[in-house]
Structures are given as C-alpha cells and as structure tokens.
Point group: none
Chain length 228, copies 2
Amino acid sequence: MKEGPDIALIGSLIGDPARANMLTALMSGRALTASELAAEAGITVQTASSHLARLEGGGLILRRKQGRHRYFTLADDDVGGLLESMMALAARGGYTRVRTGPKDPALRKARACYNHLAGELGVQMLDSLLARAMVDPSEDSLALTNNGRAFMEGFGIDLDALGKTPRPLCKPCLDWSARRSHLAGSLGAALLNRFYEIGWAHRQNGTRVIEFSATGENEFHRLFPLPA
Amino acid sequence: MKEGPDIALIGSLIGDPARANMLTALMSGRALTASELAAEAGITVQTASSHLARLEGGGLILRRKQGRHRYFTLADDDVGGLLESMMALAARGGYTRVRTGPKDPALRKARACYNHLAGELGVQMLDSLLARAMVDPSEDSLALTNNGRAFMEGFGIDLDALGKTPRPLCKPCLDWSARRSHLAGSLGAALLNRFYEIGWAHRQNGTRVIEFSATGENEFHRLFPLPA
DNA sequence: TTCATACTTCGATGATAAACGAAACATTAA
DNA sequence: TTAATGTTTCGTTTATCATCGAAGTATGAA
C-alpha cells in the first residue's frame, strides 16, 4: 500500500530533520541560498540540493534564479502557517524534551553559519545589540542605528567597505539550535572575521565549531552583555 | 546529524502513508479500534499496533482501554486542525479526499455493545441520567446517586442482586458511532435486559441491532428525556 | 579564453523503519 | 475450565532514502 492521502507526502517532506531545519530557517521570511540552507541544516550542498528539489516538487518552497545564486523561500503564508501550527503543537506537550540542533555542546555554543557566528553566542550577540538599540528591527530586516555605527567603527569594523558589497549589511538568521535569530549579513561576517583577527576565537580545523579563548570569551561577554 | 526540530518528529509521524490513512480515518471524530484502523490503512493488525503506539507516543492520538478493545481518537482539536491544514495545502495539487461512507442507520441508532445498549439511544440514556443527577461522574467511573438508586428500583432493577457481582455497577463506555459515552457495567446490562423483559425492544437475529417497538421507543423517550 | 563560484546530477553506501509471521498476552463467552 | 477474539511484542526481511564523493552544468569575473 503505497497510496495515501497527500498529507503523507507533506508530512514526509517536513519529517526529515535536515528538511525541517531548512524550512525552519526559511520561516524568518528571508530568501536563502542553497549553501546557506546547507550550512543551517549541517549537511553538504549536494545533499541540500536534493532536499530542496523535493521540497520544491512538493510545493512547499519556491526557487528564484538570480545570477549564479538560487534563492529559496517558503511557497506562501499557508506553508508558514502550517509550520507554525506544528511548532505550537510540538511545544504544547510531549516533545519538549527532544533536543534540537546539534548535540555537540561545542556546536551549540558557537559555530560558523556560512560565514557568521551562530549558536548561543551568536544569539546573545544579536540580543545584546537589539537591547541597546545598536540595531533596529525594521520590518523584514535589520538596520544599524547611528549608535550602532559608532559602536562598530569603534570595534574596528570598516563600515564604508562593507557598504559597497552587494550583500545586505545586516540580516537576521534564524538560529538552528536556539531558534532565535542571530546576526548574518556582511556585518555578521565582518564581526566574526574581527574576532579571528584580534585572537578572540578561531575556527576548529575541518569543523564548523568556533573555539573562543578564555580571554576572548570574557571580552565577548563584556562587549555584548545580555540584558537583565 | 539525526537531531532536528520538533516539527520533524510530527512530520515523520504524519508522513508515513499507513499512519496518515489512520489519522484521516480518525478525523471523522469517531473512536476506532486497532483492527478497524488496520483495515482502513490496508495493513495487518500487528503493523497497525506499532504505528498506533508511535502515534500515541507522539501525542497525536489517545488510547482508551475498554475490555478487549482499544479505542483510539485524535488527541484534541489542535491535531485535527493541523491535519485539516495539511489537507487544504495538499488540495492545491488537485487531490480530492475520499470520505468513508455512511453506516447502517439501524446500527447507529441502537445496538448491543456486549450486553448493554449503545448507539444514539444509549448515549441519550446516559446523558439523561447525568443531567438529572441520577448518575455522578466521579473520577474515571460513574456512581449511582441515591436519587438514581430510587429511580432504578422503581424501574424494576434489583440493585441488591447487582451489587454482588464482581463487575462494576456503572461504567462509561465510549460509543462507536456517536463519540460520547454510554452506560456500561452491570447496571447497563440490567437495564437492557429490563427493556427486553417489558417488551420495549428485542435483539435482531444474528446482528447487533436492537429494534425498539413504537410504544417502547415512546416510553424510552419519556423515561430518559434529553435535557433542553 | 581561463578560472572561480554556485549549484545539480550520478552512483554507491549505509542506516532506518515498515512490513508481516509467529507467538505471547488480555479479556470475554460458554 | 476451554475456546474465541482483540491486541501487543518479538524477530527477520526488505525496501527506501538520506548522505556524500565525484563529476557535470551554469553563471560571472579576470
């Protein structure tokens, strides 16, 4: 008996952890590339490509060609609504003990998402910037305030250079493990590079883990304090 | 990386064709047995049993033990709503769902459930007793009130004789066609026997249908009126 | 052109789980 | 008690599919 109602098809599409992670990332509303989605799901791009083809075939996502990029978005609000319903149902009971994201504690704490900082520290950084009005959550994206521009310049980020890149300066990226947004965009990438430069952290060989030194982590917490 | 967001677990539960068929059958709101659900999904009972265990573990369905039957229902309206959303989404592909046909009206109205009255009239009887405080819904079972004892004695039920049997006097039994409880237990059996005795009804040969005479049904409605 | 980047397709491998036969378990009927 | 019915558990087989390496396609840059 292979025939079944179509809910089985939709269910099986959402039922794979890698695909569910990619769909979760797309719930931010932003269009993401295959590479970014692969990084979010923790799989290679070729695996992600086959997943994305199936999601598109099932009508859950749309693909926009743009140069050598393919931008993926949720097909429409109904899909987003369905995912929200499932999250609500999952949060209600029974599933709360199930871990999300990577089980490796190091990966959960800090990892590279494409080229910016993800994990608990990544979420903390954006939270801190938001709480101190360095970043303004306007509509769909994030905007750097004047306050924030000064802060970034003071930290050694060349905002003028960043302004010339085609990539958006700031954008939120829904964190895979924490389920909150962290800072992506060219600014997010620049900040992570700056952390490398000043020796706060380095990327573990061949993995996505970002290791902070003891002093680096202390400085990080001082620069990006969490609001009480 | 096998870990994923909670929606992956829910999705994978719904994503299996056999489980999707069983959930679809349960969307009628009726409580169904494992055997019925197995037939609905076109699989053997032992396979269905393992599927049902997983669905219950995932919080999508509830199981009620009743004699040698296990009645399964959707856990709550949220689950039904989620399934409806998925069907709506799937319907955009042009697939129209097949609904199960109507049942035998006589069986739906009144039938023997083991040795007591089930069907619409059975549900009505318990509703009426509950509304007039003849029966008290305490905890998991039902208790006859003093008011109820007098009522039963007046109808010709020998409660003292019933009190000696090991079976519980009153207990609720989830109705197969309606989705409400009707009265089981030794009292339920005694009442049905009494209906036979005084000629209100008789059991159709070889079937589970209970046929009420015209006067019997009138008397029944007078004795067990539904609350407005 | 040639190189680099972004993505897709192909092929092989491995892990998961769906399926059912057989047997145990549980409850009711006689 | 024995027999019958409904359900679950166990063990095995089988098929699917997620995954990644390697190779192929497409677009943009030098």
